[in-house]
Symmetry: C2
Subunit: 352 residues, 2 copies
């Protein structure tokens, strides 16, 4: 089997060879220019007609030909939420690649929902960018069909859920990162190591905590579920769950905080309880945001190459748009690396 | 005198009433459709022709009519640089207003140059967004003419230089912020107060340090120029200049750090020298980035309502596009406010 030319729509490609714009028009009982108007996102089509045409485009898996010429010089970048310095690194990466390609970046926020709204998909279909990059965001079936019918390729970065094997995606080696963070603590001599995870619906979060478990198990240490707290990757949950962990009579001597923001929340919890980092509790983050170097003490963390991941996502989506390379199951994972600073040390005198 | 309809181009408006597209075409020795192509940013016009037409559009101050209908549903947002969490607040503000208006946000970075490149201006002229918001970025004369000829309104946010009285702009009360920060330190009993400023070419930076001087002078305290260091608003300059200040035999007991990133650099310098904040040195920042609450000790700072400023800039540019309100000299300044946390205290025992 040869890989399909446009990996995200293997079914679409097959039927695209038979269903033409004229056939769609005939079946919808409208003129070919009307189908064109729908494809171009023009407003002067009756909603009922438009829905009928969209439905036929979808069922026939229609794909626009010669898309290159009619594309806007834009790349769409969609965030689940624009809340952390995390997002800025991603924006810079995409912007770097876009600028070199003479393209501009359109930014959207799916505003806390994991799937961007219908209006967004319509706008994208109308402006036909060179590609769409989704960050921790997902497309539903009809949105994928809409983009596919306009030959707009898309790539998912660090997917929150399972993107499916036919969606190209870029991520980091989250499991290895969780493993490296926890091994570092084990090697320092810690035996009671807590964890604060991200939301369990996000694969990256699951992978990190699985790496944490694997490190404990391979070191022959017990996994105490009471020491694993489920957070949401925000500062507040690091603080709140940090208080829970550090108030225990058998409190952990080290915590893998899931990400940098939760690590900073944990710092605050420790300060409030009069505990010192790393003397009383060692802390490891994940991401290596700029702030990780600036806090006191500077944070030991797992570096995720966010800028490079975003650049890779942008290059991949442009390649897909040109019909180059990239097999169906493209999943690129860039390596994470442990950055040891001053927030980790051997278990303190309080324990000995 | 009545204010001109489009404040940024009082001269343009006068001549627009005489020079039509047909006249421009005649003078350029080309057809009217060719002038249209240039206006629409189409690639199929010879460079020499294009330059001639652009020059005539500029000298005649031509302004496209009925621009509303042919606009893309976009707002352009241009940053000087996308480096700090600062930028993210601004993006969120513009995105909020854009989403409500059914528009998407195109993001560009002028990559360290204060004036975005020529390619950028061409792209904007071609896509004709509803408006352009420039953050710490400036347009040169030809770029302003290019946007004006396409009836693309623009607003400058927190200008780096003097935007001129005919460019609408949004800022914060930087002078009052510098005054409030320094008065707070004076009221705590400090008499040797240092300052780390931003780049002197940025008005916001000048205004802050002028507020600092005013606070000292009105309190009858001498202004010691040896205690005023010129930084660049990055963490590194706070660290480096912080070391210079804190290594002096007559070191200041408090420092107004110019912005939050420099304040964090100063924290690092203090740690390195074994000085405690606020016991040995009080620190005040400016901006109130999310991280200001999270560092240890939480940072006393001047809150700049970045999100609200960005929302105001977006609303203003949309109003200008509709030809509403907004007089020529529109300059909106939103109020700053002092947020007192734990990085400031009375001069410590080390001094007494």
């Amino acid at each position: 089997m040869t890989p399909p030319e446009h990996p995200q729509t293997p079914t679409a490609r097959r039927s695209a060879q038979t269903a033409t714009l004229a056939e769609i028009a005939r079946e919808a009982g409208v003129s070919a220019p009307t189908v064109s108007k729908v494809l171009n996102g023009r407003a002067d089509v009756a909603p009922a007609t438009r829905n009928r045409v969209e439905e036929l485009l979808r069922t026939h898996g229609y794909r626009r030909r010669r898309a290159e010429a009619s594309r806007s010089p834009l790349i769409d970048l969609v965030f689940h939420e624009l809340e952390s310095a995390w997002a800025l690194e991603v924006i810079r990466g995409v912007e770097n690649v876009a600028r070199q390609a003479g393209l501009s970046v359109v930014l959207s926020e799916s505003a806390g929902r994991l799937t961007p709204g219908r209006t967004w998909a319509d706008q994208v279909a109308a402006r036909r960018p060179h590609g769409v990059i989704l960050v921790l965001s997902e497309l539903d079936e009809s949105q994928r069909a809409l983009l596919t019918s306009r030959s707009v390729p898309f790539v998912v970065m660090d997917p929150a859920g399972d993107p499916g094997t036919d969606v190209p995606s870029i991520g980091a080696t989250n499991w290895q990162g969780g493993l490296a963070a926890t091994r570092h603590l084990v090697e320092l001599g810690h035996t009671r190591i807590g964890a604060i995870t991200g939301p369990s619906r996000m694969l990256c979060s699951r992978a990190r905590v699985d790496g944490y478990r694997a490190a404990l198990e391979t070191a022959g240490l017990p996994v105490d579920v009471g020491l694993i707290k489920t957070g949401d990757f925000h500062h507040e949950s690091g603080y709140r769950l940090g208080l829970e962990l550090l108030r225990r009579p058998d409190r952990p001597t080290a915590v893998f905080a899931g990400n940098d923001l939760q690590a900073l929340g944990l710092y605050e919890a420790a300060r409030e309880l009069g505990l010192r980092v790393p003397d009383d509790v060692s802390v490891v983050g994940f991401d290596d945001l700029p702030v990780a170097r600036w806090v006191g003490p500077p944070l030991t963390t797992v570096r995720q190459p966010l800028l490079e991941m975003a650049e890779a996502a942008a290059r991949l989506v442009l390649e897909l748009g040109r019909g180059e390379g990239a097999a169906a199951a493209t999943r690129v994972e860039l390596a994470t690396s442990l950055v040891v600073r001053s927030s980790t040390a051997a278990p303190g005198v309080a324990e000995s």
